[in-house]
């Protein structure tokens, strides 16, 4: 198998596994664990066998595909020494966490969800580590933030889990956005987003004027992710996650993503004063604050959380020092921290699982109940404290050596050895306290559960990790040596220093400091241990009042209430106010534009000859519009008729001014719109001028009307002026000429507007008919569950008197007179049906050459249907004619898309039209264009959508009657009983 393929498989497999696991049923614990575990082991095998490719100096494996070619962004997987080391860490510890979680999680937890998130997280983390492209790296970076949100908030019914998840997301995703901008800046500086190119351009980046903003933004991402002071507050809150997740996120992944980023970009970003001050100070502060806070925690996981912060600070501090040896120490400590911290979290989880509490004040003497777990935890804690013969000792020695070597170079460094030793002593102190409180002392009493050793399988991950701690601690060169060397070489290249991973370096300053720290830590515990344990809240001395997390929560709450208050002051929920502001803004903007650029309304360049008939027609139109505005409140029917009149005038205007297509479509649309408005009228409440408005409202209403009138008048005047100014200027020779000239040669149509719609701009039209279909379905969906308000209109007077007449005569039943009165129109309308269908087909078929087309044909066909409803009533029509509008919509869309896709068969782009003329017998010459098929799709869809709306509205009356009948029957049944 080619190595690139293996790499791609390793990168994709976790996501596939994630999708597979989430589809398992909620109780499938074993299946989920086996699937997740085997996915990770398979990935690990893929990465593992690639080791020879990256072990050679400068060796790396690259697999690239085009991703966003127009932006010059490729999707690149790049495996080098550093990426290999991190990938193994992520996958190896991931697999152990899966095994552990299988036995940790309770039977009632939906475990497949956990494993699915976990696999997705592994995939995102691998994505970061393997990214060979800056943009790609940021995408995976944000993915880890999002998935970690899901993981931390896994127990969704737990408020602190939700809060912790939200805080982690806010901080790390916010940092991720900064990182994105930073990466774009670096890409701009270098001229490429390719990681290999960027890593080779260190001097260009450091000398660029954009270096400072880029550095600050990238570090904002890295420091938030790796929980550096003052962004560390999210990490302790994230402890609300299930312990296996904490073990994973805070040892090998998530927080290490920030560290990875700093190591990755160390060759190009480090080496300046700014880097030293930001990274060094952040690391130092984090290390000390973390260690100090860890001392005072009573919760086992809280102690480990702050200890993690402190160790991350240590690694960051190392990266801040401008020394290649410090980078070696940082990478080494990253690996060591991952192993011992993962095992400690798992041990804490076992204690919690078996005793029911994590409070160190209640725990005591567990040595007797679980000697095996206790031994494992003690070894891991010793590794954390930096006790000799364990891996923690080696990297801590390197750290102290760097602290000593770099002392005096910068101002801050004078204190470096002292502060480093102090932090190490703190580490020793909390490690001793952790072990002493939990495993020694008197036998525990009133624990929630009787403690005992966990199941065998739950311990295996810890055993393996502790074994790694010891193996690295004893024979570093045989175990971690080669991989570490590969990682260091891939970062530092030619600057790789000579270093020695030996346990014994002779009596020297670092050893002395190490001894001071170890002894000092134990001594401090001896002196202060009792008082620390009695400390009531577990807040660290001196910093008790400074709770960053609470400050953050308060700031967020303030933000929300502030925004809400601002909205209350500046915004309104009332539509009228919103619309008024909208129109006023538009007016002001238009006036401003006019004032700035000058407004020359009267510059007559062209004019068509005045026609009194046209003016007269518009006099009627204007009267209709004003009439509609005046009547709409109390006389809805006449207002609807007036609007129809205005539409008619506008249709005639189109006809007059050389737009026959528009005229035809407008008049057809006008008919259906009016029918629809009439159908809707009956469900509106009675509004009578005789009903008095509240007196308190009268003055306000009058004022409002005056303001509205001014707005409307000014807007109308403005639009009129603008229209006049444009119309009297000579036409610009735009794209119109091209369309007119090419309509026949290229599309075989003589009706340019139709050719534009179905051929040149067919893709736009496809979008348009999609909208139409969606609106049709929305109307249908809204009306399906809709029970309209009771009919607001009583029965018309005519109907009442007709029914009374019928009831009084023998041989007549109510409704007969009304039916007789409408007999002639009804027969006419029924017989019109085939003719209107014919007209619709005619409009459609001639559309390519003469005014008409799919839109007009479709609406005409709808009118044919609606007319039947009006003539005979909904029930009569539905008994005889099954219109299935939804099928029409689907078929129309399908036909349109297929007509477009047909051009693929000929190797042409989507919706490329072709045409020919065909002469069948009788019909004469007809154009056969693929655009005609597309137009057919339009027509069918338009019929479906508009018929759907109208039928759905019309059908309400049937439902209403049926509901009334059913009600009457029920009442009749109840009567005899």
């Amino acid at each position: 198998m080619p190595p690139q393929l293996l790499l791609a498989i390793a990168a994709i497999l976790p996501f596939l596994g994630s999708a597979a696991v989430i589809s398992l049923p909620g109780h499938a614990r074993n299946a989920a664990a086996i699937l997740a575990g085997s996915t990770l082991v398979a990935c690990l095998a893929c990465i593992g066998v690639l080791y020879p490719m990256v072990s050679a100096p400068g060796g790396s494996l690259v697999w690239a595909v085009d991703w966003l070619p127009t932006l010059g962004v490729q999707f690149v997987l790049r495996l080098d020494g550093l990426a290999w080391l991190f990938a193994v860490l992520v996958l190896g510890i991931g697999a152990l966490v899966v095994l552990y979680a299988r036995y940790y999680m309770a039977a009632e937890d939906p475990v497949p969800r956990l494993f699915s998130y976990l696999l997705a997280f592994v995939g995102a983390m691998l994505g970061i580590v393997l990214s060979g492209n800056l943009i790609q790296l940021v995408v995976f970076w944000e993915l880890t933030s999002i998935v970690s949100f899901l993981l931390i908030g896994y127990w969704t019914d737990n408020a602190s889990a939700r809060d912790g998840a939200r805080m982690a997301l806010t901080i790390t995703a916010g940092g991720g956005l900064c990182l994105f901008v930073g990466m774009v800046l670096i890409g701009q500086i270098v001229g490429s987003y390719d990681l290999a190119v960027v890593l080779a351009s260190g001097d260009t980046i450091r000398s660029s004027p954009l270096y400072l903003p880029a550095l600050v933004l990238v570090l904002a991402g890295a420091l938030t992710k790796s929980a550096q002071f003052p962004f560390h507050i999210w990490l302790p809150r994230a402890m609300a996650a299930p312990t296996p997740i904490s073990a994973y996120l805070h040892s090998a992944t998530m927080v290490k993503a920030g560290i990875f980023l700093m190591i990755r970009f160390w060759p190009v970003l480090a080496g300046t004063e700014t880097w030293y001050w930001i990274v060094g100070t952040a690391g130092m502060a984090t290390m000390l604050v973390g260690a100090w806070s860890a001392i005072f925690q009573h919760d086992l996981k809280g102690l480990l959380a702050y200890s993690t912060i402190s160790h991350l600070g240590l690694i960051t501090l190392l990266l801040g020092l401008d020394s290649p040896l410090a980078v070696v120490a940082a990478i080494f400590h990253t690996v060591n921290h991952a192993t011992f911290k993962a095992s400690l979290f798992m041990a804490a989880g076992i204690i919690d699982h078996e005793t029911g509490t994590r409070d160190m004040r209640r725990l005591s003497g567990l040595w007797r109940a679980m000697p095996y777990t206790a031994t494992l935890a003690m070894v891991a804690a010793a590794a954390m404290a930096g006790v000799p013969l364990l891996n923690g000792f080696l990297s801590k020695e390197m750290f102290l050596a760097e602290a000593v070597d770099n002392a005096g170079e910068h101002g801050l460094n004078l204190a470096l050895p002292i502060l480093a030793t102090l932090a190490s002593a703190f580490t020793m102190l909390y490690s001793v306290r952790f072990i002493r409180q939990t495993f020694f002392g008197p036998a525990p009493h009133d624990l929630p559960q009787v403690p005992h050793e966990p199941v065998r399988w739950m311990r295996i991950p810890i055993e393996l990790l502790v074994l790694v701690c010891i193996a690295i601690g004893l024979v570093p060169n045989l175990t971690i040596g080669p991989a570490l060397a590969g990682a260091v070489r891939s970062v530092l290249g030619a600057r790789t220093p000579d270093y020695d991973l030996a346990i014994w370096h002779g009596f020297n300053a670092p050893l002395a400091l190490s001894v001071v720290a170890l002894v000092g830590g134990v001594a401090l515990y001896g002196v202060f241990g009792r008082r620390i344990n009695a400390n009531p809240r577990g807040g660290p001395w001196l910093m008790d009042r400074l709770d960053g997390g609470r400050l953050f929560e308060r700031a967020m709450t303030g933000l929300v209430t502030g925004a809400r208050r601002l909205e209350g002051h500046l915004g309104s929920e009332r539509l009228q106010v919103q619309l008024r502001i909208l129109f006023l803004t538009v007016l002001l903007a238009a006036m401003l534009a006019g004032a700035v650029r000058g407004l020359d309304l009267f510059a007559p360049g062209r004019a068509t000859t005045f026609d009194p008939a046209f003016a007269l027609m518009w006099l009627v139109g204007a009267a209709c519009a004003v009439g509609a505005a005046e009547r709409a409140k109390y006389h809805r029917l006449s207002a609807a008729i007036f609007v129809g009149g205005a539409g008619l005038v506008s249709s005639l205007t189109f006809l007059w001014l050389s737009a026959p297509d528009l005229a035809v479509t407008q008049i057809l649309v006008e008919i259906v719109t009016t029918v629809m408005l009439l159908l809707g009228l009956r469900w509106l409440p009675k509004r009578d001028a005789a009903i008095p408005a509240p007196a308190s409202e009268a003055a306000r209403a009058r004022r409002r009307r005056i303001v509205d009138l001014c707005i409307a008048a000014f807007a109308g005047l403005g639009l009129a002026g603008l229209a006049y100014a444009v119309m009297t200027r000579p036409a610009v020779d735009g794209i119109a000429r091209w369309f007119v000239e090419e309509a026949y040669p290229q599309a075989g149509g003589r009706n340019v507007v139709n050719v534009l719609l179905v051929d040149f701009r067919a893709f736009d039209t496809l979008g348009e008919i999609c909208v139409l279909g969606i609106v049709g379905l929305t109307v249908f969906a809204l009306l399906r569950r809709f029970r309209p308000a009771s009919d607001s209109l009583g029965r018309p007077k005519q109907q009442v008197s007709h029914d009374a007449y019928d009831a009084a005569r023998a041989g007549r039943s109510p409704g007969d007179t009304a039916a007789d009165a409408l007999l002639v129109p009804r027969v006419v309308m029924t017989w019109l049906f085939p003719f209107i269908v014919l007209l619709a087909l005619h409009l459609f078929l001639r559309g390519h050459d003469l005014p008409g087309g799919g839109f007009a044909g479709g609406i005409a066909l709808t009118i044919a249907f609606v007319l039947q409803y009006m003539a005979q009533g909904a029930e009569w029509v539905e008994e005889r004619l099954r219109i299935r509008p939804i099928a029409w919509i689907g078929v129309g869309l399908l036909v349109a898309v297929l007509a477009g896709a047909g051009s693929w068969l000929f190797g042409r782009p989507f919706l490329t039209a072709s045409f020919a003329y065909w002469e069948p017998p009788l019909l004469g010459k007809v154009p056969v264009a693929s655009a005609l098929v597309f137009d057919l799709g339009i027509m069918v869809l338009v019929v479906g959508a508009s018929a759907l709306m109208l039928v759905a509205l019309a059908h309400q009356s049937v439902r209403r009657t049926r509901a009334a009948e059913a009600e009457a029957e029920r009442a009749a049944e109840r009567e005899p009983a």
């Binding site: 649309v669 807007a715 639009l719 009306l783 839109f855």
Partner: protein, 122 residues
């Protein structure tokens, strides 16, 4: 002609905007209709006015000077979409009337407190 049409557009737009600012949903629905007539005519007028020269070529398809087809094509789809918009608005206003019991655009009569959603499925 230009003057007449531009005045007409102005009257349509003013009536439409006035209606859209009214409190009752039916008024707003008619207002949207009127405003869309005005806007359609406005867009159409951007292609300048021509009498008797529709963008439909003769039988021989010889290219002649015709009215600008581009604004016409834009307006044609706008007409159909405008119909869909009116339909959707009408249905929404009926549903809102059914649920809130009021045909006020805010779902409550002026002077009343919060909208009281009645039972939509009696």
């Amino acid at each position: 002609m230009e003057l007449v049409l531009s005045l007409g557009i102005g009257v349509f737009a003013a009536s439409g905007i006035w209606l859209m600012l009214r409190p009752r949903t039916f008024q707003v629905a008619l207002g949207i209709s009127l405003l869309s007539y005005a806007v359609n005519l406005f867009i159409f007028a951007m292609g300048r006015l021509t009498v008797g020269a529709p963008p439909v070529l003769g039988a021989g398809a010889e290219v002649v000077s015709v009215d600008d087809p581009v604004p016409q094509a834009l307006v044609l789809t706008a007409l159909v979409i405008g119909f869909a918009l009116t339909a959707l608005f009408l249905v929404v206003l009926l549903a809102a009337r059914g649920i809130t019991g009021s045909d006020h655009v805010d779902g409550r009569e002026p002077g009343q407190g919060e909208p009281q959603p009645g039972n939509p499925h009696p």
